[in-house]
Symmetry: C2
Subunit: 183 residues, 2 copies
Amino acid sequence: MRFKKKDFPLTRVREHLETGPIVLVTSRHERRSNIMTMGWHTMLQFTPALFGCYIWEGNRSFRAIRESRECVINVPTIELLEQVVAIGNSHAEDGDKFAATGLTAGKSQRVKAPLINECYASFECRLFDDRMVKKYSFFIWEIVNAHVAQVEEPRTLHYRGQGTFMRAGPEIDCKKRFKPENL
Amino acid sequence: MRFKKKDFPLTRVREHLETGPIVLVTSRHERRSNIMTMGWHTMLQFTPALFGCYIWEGNRSFRAIRESRECVINVPTIELLEQVVAIGNSHAEDGDKFAATGLTAGKSQRVKAPLINECYASFECRLFDDRMVKKYSFFIWEIVNAHVAQVEEPRTLHYRGQGTFMRAGPEIDCKKRFKPENL
């Protein structure tokens, strides 16, 4: 299933990232595209939209991401469980991860790294600060473009370790009990 | 409901934090305890266990946490929804948040900040690196002690923005499809 994504306001990307889903990070470097799974990330700022994440330097994507200074953060849902597990348990040496998983690459607007069409949300990122990379493998990204398909209560995957995921459950609307400035 | 928590291995704290739950951060400074809600955080390293989080400098807890160089990260579940919303929508000036919410303070072992007895998991933290605080309000903590009650599939809360939470859904065990080194 490919999602029809639309431009999404950068000020609202937290709605899709703050819950802590496993994401698929796509990169493009030296005419090769790659995909990795990633679960250690956090929002850092609303405007500009800053997002931080840990990328293990042993991962093949590390060099491609570091040198190209770009990536796309794609958010998969339960329908992509097989692909998420396969990508997390294979290496770039095993071959093209798009071909191996059946995922398809879409065109980004502001970076060379591709989107994943089968993910309901994709966020184009440019490196904003790499001063924490050497010591902590922690990258700070500016999200420069956001694509999101309208999905009610997206059933994202959240990694618990030990090969186990938590699947996003139902939403609870507490809006009426929030002060407007805290929404 | 107060949980009976037990010592938990520091190498496994990711199992309770990586899914991205809203957490309650407790602090103690100048003989006052405080509680704040927090959703912008990430694991950064297994050993020592490092954890990074954004704390808005406008929050009353900011100074207490910065100056005491300690805090406790407590993980609430759906049973504490009312308290989570109340804490996120009140100020320290409104009075003692323990008294206001009915939450009770437990004794930590290695820091002065209290645990919250009604949270199923609590992680004692000491400031590890504050070099990102000035620019990004981002603190890097070493988790020095972990207390976790045995709860099957904890129904944690994950903030989506706009006053809406996602409640943790069921677990999916994919262990058999993982390579042992990737678990």
